[in-house]
Symmetry: C2
Subunit: 408 residues, 2 copies
């Protein structure tokens, strides 16, 4: 018997798992080699592609780490230190969320909180309903957990508001364990209204499934609109799981400290077992995060003003581009833009490889990777407005000139 | 129809996953409330139950964090910074392990490296063979990944040396994806010989499965015996995956920095996808870990001497206790002790609740939680010799007096 090369290969090296093979590549990362090549050629690249803010981390957090008096860098508690969780509970109380330290498990970033949440509520083959477009790594966490993402399309025409609740209900099966939302939304910038949150809460209760809300952009709400947490809704004690993180709130992405919050004691007890297996969240970052809770209110006022102005600058400039559609964000620091091109990923690559204005170009995130449905968002990009206004205006001008000459 | 209370409960709150329910509790944690109660009563408790060293973290690592000049605490690269991985490659070269930066993915502790390894090589229902007793959290990582641990018993009478290789081979099925060892071993303290490693390597190659080695205690080898890495063995490029961590090496358990090392590019590419989904390892801890690589050799000489003396002191003292059996460790800082009791967990609880000498008692880890086979190790405990010699001697004396009066 003659073996084909593929088959032969199986005999000479062990296989990667089906799960590992299915793990998605970062949709942003694919373009990194082109950005690196552009920089090597001396091009300046404006990065609108990642949610890494340029805002300074609060001094009080930075100082706490510099002034630490650790001699033995020991494990912390698996659930995070008591004092940090107690301070967190007070922070939540200021945001109309009534929880105590025992409702909180400190995690290594919001990422780990999401992994623990999925592991706690879903088994292999179970389903989680998510309005798309959504934060691309939800696909990764679901794949790593063997869980199926069931998308509900939200539309750029509707500013990515909540799709009709009947569309969610129609997708609920025996295998549905939760609805997952990101509020305010990455990548949409949409901020759910209280009425929308109430609809989701009612549906979760009606079908006895969890409602998981990624609220890491809680502070970033514009036009004077208040963020409304699923934990503020009465009667949601057993159903609501909130994912949180210090990454964006304090421009501390590299800390890798998040938390999971729930009034459901069975959820917290189970999450704690996952947390114990990995021992503890990082100690230095917990010092920074605890100190960050004392950040003066003026910091947030300034940051919010800065983002609000960036948002206005960006949207106004984008609207001058012919045949371009943009959903005006109400929160977070992203927006989705529909371009007059067939394939936004090819356009993004072309921007890096073949286009520049005064030797400057732009890197954007193709939005298709933020959808679970194949073929959706092909002409869309996500823009993160994490640059100063001048650079944002330059970036939009580059996109404008690029679209005028792009060989579509 | 009348519903039983359990059934009724299903209708009024959503369920925890089967996986979450199956997640094991930490075998050490179960006794924590008894230790806390003892302390509240004013008893001093010597902690022989956890692998948290009392050794000072290298000054060079502590200083690097205190002197950092970060203004925006940004994400690092998902795979860890280039400079840290290049320095790591040099560290490995000093230990007869020839790898480059691209063979290394920096992780959030050895824990995450193990989770990534299991996800990369095994799907739900797949099997990993592990000699028992083994590090208890392997059970947690396997459960979280839906993977089955298949144990091979190693015996205290044999000092926990490698069981006959035929016993491993007899357990290999279509579902076997890897053999996992911890070398030197937690909780056994056993250090595999080069001959034993070669046997495991041959078996992995013969059956085309991975060999995963948790080598986080690499430096802790006594009696002049050298640690032998699976990556030092020729022809293992496609089969060997090493799990590593700075936690024990530099007494930096709270850093939460580890890494996964493999020459198999498909493994590294897949691990990187898991790493990208969680964005990056913690930035401050990476600064500490990078600086720690410049720790002077004298630090390790002193630490090794200290542990070697603690080991000798502990073993010598334990041998004076009648009807007690101890496997003399060759590495790491643990040993397994078989006590003349029926149930070591009950004895450990009794030590905390009902016994003291001069108002001092001892907390030990019942060893049953380090076995996958139910009923194994029931009379065994794990002792971590992470205390100074004086405290170790006091602790052994307490155990000795306790055993003399314990109502077995």
């Amino acid at each position: 018997m003659q073996l084909c090369p593929d088959k032969l290969n199986q005999f000479i090296m062990p296989n990667i798992s089906t799960k590992g093979t299915a793990m998605p590549q970062s949709p942003i990362r694919k373009l990194v080699p082109y950005a690196e090549a552009a920089k090597k050629k001396g091009k300046k690249v404006f990065h609108l592609n990642i949610g890494q803010p340029d805002i300074q981390t609060p001094q009080i957090a930075l100082d706490a780490v510099k002034q630490n008096n650790i001699n033995v860098l020991a494990y912390s508690r698996s659930e995070g230190s008591d004092i940090y969780r107690e301070k967190l509970a007070k922070y939540y109380a200021q945001h109309q969320i009534q929880v105590t330290a025992k409702d909180i498990v400190v995690t290594t970033g919001g990422s780990e909180a999401l992994m623990f949440a999925i592991g706690t509520i879903a088994d292999q083959g179970d389903e989680i309903i998510i309005p798309e477009p959504f934060y691309a790594n939800y696909n990764g966490f679901a794949t790593a957990s063997g869980v199926k993402v069931v998308p509900v399309v939200s539309k750029i025409e509707d500013n990515f508001s909540l799709p009709p609740i009947a569309e969610f209900e129609a997708l609920i099966t025996q295998n549905t364990k939760a609805i997952l939302i990101c509020n305010p939304g990455n990548p949409t910038g949409y901020l759910y209204t209280e009425a929308e949150i109430k609809q989701l809460c009612s549906l979760a209760k009606k079908h006895n499934i969890f409602l998981v809300a990624d609220e890491v952009y809680r502070e970033f709400a514009y036009e004077g609109v208040q963020h409304y947490s699923i934990l503020s809704q009465l009667g949601m004690e057993e159903y609501a799981i909130v994912i949180d993180s210090v990454s964006k709130r304090y421009s501390m992405c590299g800390a890798r400290i998040g938390c999971l919050v729930s009034k459901n004691t069975a959820v917290i007890d189970t999450v704690l077992k996952f947390a114990q297996a990995r021992l503890s969240p990082p100690t230095y970052a917990q010092i920074a995060s605890e100190a960050a809770l004392d950040t003066p209110a003026s910091y947030f006022k300034d940051v919010k003003e800065e983002y609000s102005e960036r948002r206005n600058t960006l949207i106004q400039a984008l609207k001058t581009i012919p045949n371009l559609k943009v959903a005006k964000p109400k929160g977070a620091f992203y927006c989705i833009v529909a371009l007059p091109v067939q394939n936004a990923e090819k356009f993004a690559q072309w921007l890096l490889e073949d286009f520049s204005v005064d030797n400057e170009t732009v890197m954007v995130a193709p939005a298709a990777g933020f959808y679970a449905t194949k073929g959706m968002g092909m002409n869309q990009i996500r823009i993160a407005y994490v640059l100063n206004k001048e650079d944002l205006l330059k970036s939009v001008e580059i996109i404008k000139q690029a679209l005028a000459v792009y060989p579509n």
